[in-house]
């Protein structure tokens, strides 16, 4: 009996390059992706083509986007591609996949997780108001749907995406009222170190900031105590700079603090996790070859730790080469070493970015009691603080059990980081000491009407 096919989860930059590398070695992977078309979030495509060309959609990254889309299209008859499909569980070498209204249990031999990331958020007052979206969400509206989230938009938070999305809105003709960066201006000096490692990226970021400023966009650094205000929808932002409180009217807000890895499937696959200081999060352990602690399970792209799209392409290929080696197939060791060198260099640049856009660690001590931390079930900071003290909690899953934080529909994707930070501060320890939320299948809501079907081996 022939061996089952390798399974690649995700068709963004990592998943596409992984699939391509497997195909080159003569394997026929199954690629499962939630989106209707390949590209991931960064190279996501509109549902139907519109009047904008690749340059308008992807800016300086248009060439990379087109090459990735083209590479995946060229694989069409040599892979199995299930778009609009969700791997909702992993168990005993099988993946439960929701696709076309049914749930298929698919045996795999070799699993490459390329599950990507979404925005990391720390809750602020008003963050559940209509008109407030993540930075990534604001970008999806613009690029994939051709819509602006408002007519006078404020972008707040931190990280490279803050300036990129603000600039994309500006270029699209939308009024950008302000860019409010939580990172102090002094932290930007670290970018000078980045010039040697990734000059094009640093210079591009500086150009974004300069063009925003030239076009009258208010740029502020070191902002804190961000609050989003409005009745029924967002109508303004309030923040503090030192002792000074400031306010602006707006009708749309994009907010985010860098990204967080999507790690649920690695957890369900049984991968060991370790705290990563740079990402300030527990991540699946992996070596430089993208192997996890579980034999036959590989992880690549932002789902393994935030490193960006270029790194994702390299890591996807590296993961596939590891899979090939473990299967006893030709695996291009020189190419693998080259990929690892390039990834290490990007890793050093990531260190620079993290220093230039530091995590606002003071958030947990400052967040007001009435702020909603869990937007699914509206659990407040007060409820979390009370739970910690009333039940003498020191571990995040116990806090979940008592307060329901992380138990809502998003399963902690948007409150988990905040809850861990709060628990750490309340118990006087580092965030690495409070543990991580365990993942539960299904990793996203699936309808109970899904019909089970055992796929052919």
């Amino acid at each position: 009996m022939s061996r089952p096919q390798p399974l690649v989860v995700g068709a963004g930059p990592a998943g596409v390059r992984a699939a391509e590398t497997l195909v080159r070695a003569g394997l026929r992977p199954l690629v499962v992706d939630e989106a209707p078309a390949c590209g991931g979030q960064i190279y996501r495509r509109p549902l139907v083509k519109d009047e904008r060309d690749a340059r308008a959609l992807y800016g300086s990254e248009a060439g990379k986007a087109q090459r990735l889309h083209g590479a995946f299209a060229a694989l069409a008859d040599r892979i199995d591609h299930w778009p609009r499909a969700l791997v909702w569980n992993l168990r005993d070498g099988r993946a439960d996949i929701a696709v076309a209204g049914e749930s298929r249990a698919v045996a795999y031999d070799g699993l490459i997780l390329a599950t990507g990331a979404s925005d990391r958020v720390l809750p602020v007052p008003g963050w559940t108001l209509p008109g407030v979206f993540t930075l990534g969400g604001a970008q999806v509206a613009l690029k994939a749907q051709g819509c602006a989230i408002g007519q006078r938009v404020v972008f707040a938070g931190s990280g490279p995406l803050l300036y990129l999305v603000a600039w994309q809105y500006l270029k699209a003709g939308v009024k950008v009222a302000a860019v409010l960066d939580a990172a102090p201006f002094a932290a930007k000096r670290h970018l000078l170190r980045g010039l040697a490692l990734a000059p094009d990226i640093v210079l591009r970021g500086m150009r974004f900031a300069a063009e925003l400023r030239l076009n009258g966009v208010l740029l502020r650094h070191g902002i804190c105590d961000l609050a989003l205000e409005g009745e029924g929808r967002v109508a303004g932002v309030r923040w503090r700079e030192g002792r000074r409180e400031r306010h602006l009217f707006c009708d749309g807000v994009g907010y985010g603090l860098s990204l967080r890895s999507e790690t649920q499937l690695a957890d369900l696959a049984g991968c060991a996790f370790a705290f990563n200081q740079r990402d300030r999060a527990f991540l699946p352990q992996r070596d430089s070859s993208s192997r996890t602690s579980v034999r036959g399970v590989y992880i690549a792209g932002d789902g393994a730790g935030i490193a960006g799209a270029d790194a994702a392409e390299l890591a996807g290929e590296r993961a596939a080469l590891a899979l090939l080696e473990d299967r006893g197939l030709p695996h291009a060791p020189e190419r693998a070493a080259d990929l690892e060198r390039k990834l290490a260099r990007i890793g050093r640049f990531r260190d620079v970015l993290e220093a230039a856009f530091p995590f606002p660690a003071q958030w947990a001590a400052r967040v007001k009691d009435e702020t909603v931390v869990c937007r699914c079930e509206e659990v407040s900071a007060r409820a979390l603080r009370n739970a910690v003290h009333d039940f003498s909690l020191d571990e995040i899953n116990r806090l979940k059990a008592v307060s329901r934080i992380g138990m809502g529909r998003c399963q902690g994707r948007f409150c988990g980081a905040a809850a861990a930070e709060l628990l750490a501060v309340e118990t006087g320890r580092g965030v690495e000491a409070v543990g991580r939320l365990r993942s539960q299948p299904p990793v996203k809501p699936v309808p109970l009407t899904l019909m089970p079907r055992e796929a052919a081996e």
């Binding site: 904008r52 993540t134 969400g137 939308v174 929808r233 937007r375 509206e378």
Partner: protein, 94 residues
Amino acid sequence: MSLFHRIARSDHAPVRFLLDGVPCEGREGDTLLTAILTHVDKVRVSDFSGAPRAGFCQMGACQDCWVTLADGERVRACTTPLAAGMSVVTGAAA
């Protein structure tokens, strides 16, 4: 008043749907979220506080934009393509 403002695709084919019983037009290529938010400023109300919600991540991660269709089916608006004849009820908890 709408939350979203179109800057592309305005000339795409109209797709008719019902929003709280009112006939509306989206555009070919819209997600359900886009179709709703180019007309109104919320997709549902919170089960807990009754406060309006309009989605957040737009990439199928936060689960904030689940909406109820008139036939009782619930769908995540940001990952559901708009289809002609859909009937959405925004006042209901979803």
